[in-house]
Amino acid sequence: MHKFEYASPTTKEQAVALLGKSWGETEALAGGTDLLSLLKDYLVTPKRVVNLKGIKELSSVLTPRDGSARIGALASIEAVRDLGRGFAALSQAAAGITSPQIRNMGTVGGDLCQRPRCWYFRSGFGLLAKDESGNALVPNGDNRYHAILGNDGEAKFVNPSSLAPAFIALNAKIKIFGPAGEREVEAAKFFVTPKSASEREYALQPNEIVTMIHVPSTLGVRSATYEVRQREVLDWPLAAASVALTLDASKKVKTARIVLGHVAPVPWVAEEAAQSLIGKTISEDAAAEAGRLAVANAHALSRNAYKIQLASVAVKRAILQAVS
């Protein structure tokens, strides 16, 4: 990696003042589990690295009695692994990160802001994976782990966050701090599909940081995350689904949220699939139908058609797991 200067501010105001106004100038360091690899591979070459771990207020996890949670962006992934019943989707997603080293070092904010694992991006071909002449490499290349949904634009990578689908399913809001102060976005709107290689995959300005994730009350919420993976440990899932359901007194579905991970450049909200569950009693058939609807608009690239079935099954199993 290139040389950089290093600062470790103690307040968020200092941190954003130390961050640059354009991408690439500076990088924010949280757990470092992704940033250090990006630095070593020269995928980011900042002049300054701003360590956020000195800002103590950002690592608290508060779970008041109303069933909500306020999770500091610098809380470790391990800290959200056993948050309790209503947060099952989140805990199961955290446990899916099977390395204790990553769970101890990695932060919740870092999980949301990690860069895609697309091997073309990681090998220096840019976020939109193009060769020197500007030809797209993914459509005719090795795209077995690439997107099956939301892949009609130039971005074909999948969002790598494990926790994002769970946060979106639980209707979380993400608090952001920048030079202009604090703002809040819905978790689903935090992720964006970049149109150029110089953009990022999330709705942060270069000198903004994620400070907190607010999960509204989970009382009465049944949630689950199901991941389909090639290996049991040390790997990203091939497809994942997080669901959050509320049921009425007769066990019929009142509200439903279904979000897929690792299938699109952003965590994919499957609205139609969720709607199909409303008013129904959860059964294997109802869950399978939701799984089918979740991938109804999927479009396989040359080598990843298998992921459509995996994503569909992930939705079905997550729904059944949520009510079991």
Partner: protein
């Protein structure tokens, strides 16, 4: 690296006059220009003076195995490289260097981390434990003994990392369930495939560590 605090990891070679490591160290010292520059400036940020270090070498102090150790490194240098190249603690191994294989595992404030993916400068103020801390008075730690007894290594490159991950697992769960073992050791890889031996070692060390601590805790 003064000669007084050197580890003697090859007593026979030492008796013969020079070990391979000491020979290499001797040659590298002769080639090194002792240039230690303190690189620090202050930047005004949100009304406060925030120190900014580097990009050249800065002096840092790490707490390694209970002792304060100083080194002069650039901010980009990892904890692993500082331990190995500056502080003569070569137990943690550099293998993937990308937070994947676990060979560099050390404990930071009692928790396993990949030292290849922590900057040395940010490790200041934390308690670092490496595999070198385990052996006491010539006696192997129960985890080390269990690896020996269960043939839990072949080439041995992953072993120091696995031993530290096992120690952290058993410190937290003295009698781990299969699920706890899977979650506790899921961050380490052994390309020789000695997982069966490692599982046996965890079982033996679990009993051994309980004995060491009086056998009262449960997981």
């Amino acid at each position: 690296m003064s000669s007084s605090d050197e580890r003697h990891d090859n007593p026979q070679a030492d008796q013969a006059g020079v070990s391979r490591r000491n020979f290499l160290k001797g040659t590298s010292v002769a080639l090194t220009v002792p240039l230690i520059a303190q690189s620090e400036k202050v930047v005004k940020a949100a009304g406060a003076d925030v120190p900014v270090y580097g990009p050249d070498k800065v002096n840092i102090t790490l707490t390694v195995n209970g002792a304060a150790k100083t080194a002069s490194v650039e901010p980009r240098v990892t904890l692993l490289d500082t331990l190995r190249n500056e502080l003569d603690t070569t137990g943690a191994k550099r293998v993937c260097d990308r937070a994947t294989c676990g060979a560099c595992t050390v404990l930071m404030d009692g928790k396993p981390v990949y030292s290849c993916t922590v900057l040395a400068i940010e490790a200041q103020g934390h308690k670092i434990e490496t595999v070198e801390s385990l052996e006491q008075n010539g006696k192997l730690h129960p985890v080390q003994q269990a690896f020996w007894d269960n043939d839990a290594q072949q080439c041995g490159f992953c072993t120091p990392g696995f031993v530290m991950a096992c120690k952290a697992l058993l410190d937290e769960h003295p009698t781990p369930t299969d699920e706890q073992i899977k979650l506790g050791l899921g961050g380490n890889l052994c390309r020789c495939g000695t997982y069966h031996g490692i599982k046996g070692a965890v079982a033996q060390a679990s009993a051994g560590m309980k004995k060491l601590k009086g056998g009262k805790r449960n997981g």
